[in-house]
Symmetry: C2
Subunit: 590 residues, 2 copies
């Protein structure tokens, strides 16, 4: 490709509205352009990368026995009503009416469509298992689209759905997909980690996320320093501390803590570490509980607590002052509302007698759920349930007798790994893939079954497997760039080699050498970007660095005296002189 006949569209300045490096570089290197909020046009160089990612994903899916289909972007509402998601999903699901006033959605995922297809096309256990995938444009009406194609409204996704009659069969396909994803990200040349993940709103029993590691990643992911254990922070279990809790020494004492409300303020005022303070968060009770269910769950507590809880609908969560609440873990507790909702200030005052900031577990007649680490504290500080006062020297079992233990916090670096080996390390990641064991969430609702070996109708069990194809392009840049621009992994670079002739338009010799190289390299099957613009060498070098072409061949007068050109490696900056005659052979060895 000649730059003179191409849409290079590089920019020198960093666009003001691009917050993260991949967005900045994708705009500057002419990969994408914003059409409207969360909507991007892929320019020629960006599209070349996108198609390479897509093709690697396709090849590995095919190798793993998945079969490609293509489902419509536009889906009719009836299927979403049948699965129950028409009501459940919020404004992210873009709904609209056609000319006949029928309801439709722009597909953010295709569980309903594929389940409808499979229930119509598959009737016998003999046709199972089957794993169908597509690579298709999706739409999610994000409230605040940002970070360029990283969190766009319209994006390209590979989504696969598998159907089975047994958990064993599902597990086999799940494992095959796990391996296919490892192959995909390895071939893409990315440093990635599969991590255990929570199954969240989609439901199901088992789930892994695939993260591209990058300092700028939105997600915290957790590893053991001594095993293969890896999980996202939402999922990573915090083990209870080892050994005995220290014995109580101090007496419980009420102290005035005027204006000290946050953990930091109390810590500074009382001169105690945050790790010696217990913080108390009041959240809403699970609204789905009946009185009988609540009574059963609180059978260890007195009638007063049960009645007070039924009336106030509030639950207390106790964490160490230096620990963060893990909302996903809390939501899983049967007493806690999901999604998690904090109690209003009014409710806090009604239940504790104090405003938030002076609240503590002592004397509460609501459920008190204590994180394992907090439960290991002795002689600790906590709010006195009296505005402007805290207790020091508080101890569980002595001062707080009715409570439950739970895993409520995010793990922190150095925590023992839940696998039993080593300690946890925390890194940042960008989620680019997600595999789920869905179970029968959709197949039950949509009555998708087949005749099993006994000739009986049986609901299928499902897996689903997503890859964010367009997101991978941005994630690859977050992981691979320097001050000069993008450093594409070879497998997805828009071009493999650039020819940069210096002042070609003033030198017939340089022009001839460059044209010959372009001809030879193209004939040898390389994807070549030939910068034949009338630009200063500095501009051309900067553009090729920015776009991130892995190899650059610089054709200049002095080296041509010896029939040589300079070959520059974008990745490590290495330069070497090569005979013109050796260029093709040399590049083939890389």
């Amino acid at each position: 490709m000649r730059t003179s006949q191409y849409l290079l569209s590089t920019m020198k300045e960093t666009p003001a509205d691009a917050e993260i490096i991949s967005h900045q570089l994708m705009l500057r290197a002419g990969m994408v352009r914003r059409l409207a909020s969360g909507l991007y046009t892929w320019l020629p160089s960006g599209l070349r990368v996108l198609r390479k990612v897509e093709q690697i994903v396709r090849e590995e899916m095919n190798k793993a026995g998945a079969i490609e289909v293509l489902m419509p972007v536009v889906q009719h509402a009836e299927l979403w009503q049948e699965s129950g998601r028409w009501e459940k999903m919020d404004a992210e699901l873009l709904r609209f009416k056609d000319r006949h006033q029928r309801d439709f959605v722009l597909g953010p995922t295709h569980e309903e469509v594929i389940t409808d297809l499979v229930r119509k096309e598959i009737s016998s256990y003999k046709q199972l298992p089957i794993n169908l995938y597509q690579i298709q444009t999706k739409f999610r009406d994000e409230r605040r689209p940002r970070f360029g194609v990283m969190r766009a409204r319209e994006f390209l996704m590979k989504d696969a759905y598998s159907f089975h009659l047994s958990q064993d069969s599902l597990q086999q396909t799940y494992d095959a997909m796990y391996q296919a994803y490892c192959n995909i990200f390895t071939r893409l040349g990315l440093d990635f980690r599969p991590v255990l993940a929570d199954t969240g709103a989609i439901g199901g029993s088992m789930s892994h996320e695939f993260h591209v590691l990058a300092a700028s990643g939105e997600d915290a992911i957790v590893f053991s320093d001594a095993s293969d254990y890896a999980a996202n922070i939402e999922k990573a279990e915090a083990l209870p501390p080892q050994g005995q809790r220290p014995a109580a020494v101090q007496a419980k004492t009420e102290v005035a803590t005027p204006d000290a409300k946050s953990i930091e303020e109390v810590s500074a005022f009382l001169k105690v570490e945050a790790s010696s303070i217990a913080k108390t968060l009041l959240v809403q009770l699970n609204p789905d509980l009946s009185f009988d269910e609540l009574t059963a769950l609180l059978s260890y507590a007195g009638a007063e607590t049960i009645e007070n809880t039924w009336r106030s609908k509030v639950v207390a969560l106790i964490l160490r002052g230096d620990h963060d609440l893990n909302e996903i873990k809390a939501e899983k507790h049967p007493l806690v509302a999901s999604p998690l909702q904090f109690a209003s200030e009014e409710d806090v005052i009604a239940v504790t007698g104090a405003k938030p900031g002076s609240v503590g577990p002592v004397g509460l007649t609501i459920p008190v759920l204590v994180d394992h680490a907090a439960a290991h504290l002795a002689d600790f500080v906590t709010g006195a349930n009296k505005d402007g006062f805290h207790f020091t020297g508080v101890n569980f079992d002595r001062d707080i007798t009715t409570y439950q233990l739970a895993d409520l916090r995010n793990v922190v670096e150095g925590d023992p790994s839940p696998c039993g080996k080593g300690n946890l390390v925390i890194r940042r990641g960008i989620e680019v893939g997600h595999i789920f064991q869905l179970g029968d969430r959709y197949s039950s609702a949509m009555k998708a079954g087949v005749l099993n070996e006994e000739g009986k109708h049986q609901i299928m069990t499902m897996g689903c497997y997503g890859v964010g194809v367009s997101r991978i392009v941005a994630a690859a840049i977050e992981q691979n760039h320097d001050d000069y621009g993008i450093k594409w992994p070879a497998a997805i670079a828009p071009f493999q080699v650039a020819i940069v002739p210096m002042n070609m338009h003033k030198s017939v010799r340089i022009q001839e050498a460059a044209e010959q190289l372009y001809k030879d390299l193209t004939a040898a099957g390389f994807e070549v970007l030939f910068d034949d613009r009338k630009e200063r060498p500095g501009v051309m070098f900067a553009d090729m660095e920015l776009i991130g072409v892995p190899y650059q061949i610089i054709v200049g007068e002095r080296n041509l005296d010896e029939q040589k050109v300079e070959l520059k490696n974008r990745l490590n900056g290495d330069k070497q002189l090569l005979s013109l005659a050796d260029v093709v052979t040399q590049l083939k060895t890389f």
Copy 2:
């Protein structure tokens, strides 16, 4: 691909709701499934075909110097308001609001988006010409989607847009696209014709359609039997008849024609050929004309006609009884409303004094536009502008003195070709491509210009070039099928060869031979469908014929005795016996 691990989804019965053969066969052969009205899921076999079509289109576009981009499906309304199409387009343009109540459309085409991109990215004449294309999902909210993917609401299209500073440059790219399209349809293996077309609502100066010839085609296309001339029927010019009009012989005579209104009825009642009757159609006057403009256009007529026309807003069109009105041609006449609107019965009565069916040109004081062929009639029959009466023996210039000549009719077979050579032949075609010289329709409205060589801002001129990628799949079937199913052209067949082992599950020998063939053919790079189902041979043969795999290898006991298999050619039905060892070599020669 083994059928046992594939989604074959063939059907024996013809679905009742599929009207045309391609739709029936695409359903029966498991190519597509209907999700909702005008929305189709592409099943694995169909998608394989679609991707092959897509890839051929891409390769030929790249060869012709076009550069691929990818624009969003979802577009914001502002651009459509800027181009004026937000108001102009009817309900086919699907409009919706996002969560922030902003207006968007699902893109049916991308003129606005590309013009916006180019005006931002291209600033100098040095960057022109440029031709950008994409292969993208489009949406058109058809009032009545039908014929499967032939007229779907969601469809796959290749659309290209070129930008220029001169008509010469536009013509060059237009010619290159014309050639690229010929290459595409040739490579696809389709019998096609490029035909001159009207530029219609999109506007512009020059246009060709590319039609796949098929008896079931929706469009009539017109050729010369002695030259390269080809046009769609809307565009094909009808030459005025040669020679002198016969002299008037009969006297004009009023005859009663009770109940005879249509041409057929009058012809039967009076025992004259339809070709000797002049039919009169009253249509609305061009509403954009001012009184002065009308006066200028009717300068040849008297003041009474001008005033009556201004008052009645009606124009008369006169055609030979056996000819059809060509609305596109009529709309181009400066006196006629575009789009064409027939006058109401009330207006007909007010202007002529008679109801439709008894109307004629004699004595009218409105513009009378006479088709060249009708103007060649002598002693003809026409309505007497008196209910239940016609005139016989009518003659132009004697009985009708004030009229204009115009080309108003569709050509018919046998008409002389407008190119001057040979006579016209009419065939049916399916439009699969369309190229346009757009001019500045969008670039002017959206102020898309660059600095020209003189350093002045100049609006660009544009071309646009579409290919209906998903429609081609259906058109290929309309052209290539028989009673047993699809006969895919080799370049787009979902598989190149099928292995059909007879009763494999009862014979180790057959199984081994089939497995070995599958291994060898796959290793040799063939796309093989290996029918390893436990089905009767008849079912397997029927499915392979239906799907249209070009070559079938039948592995049976008797031939295996001699280490042979049967090779069947789907296209011509030829069968030959081949040694097992020769299969790969033989298939490579095709």
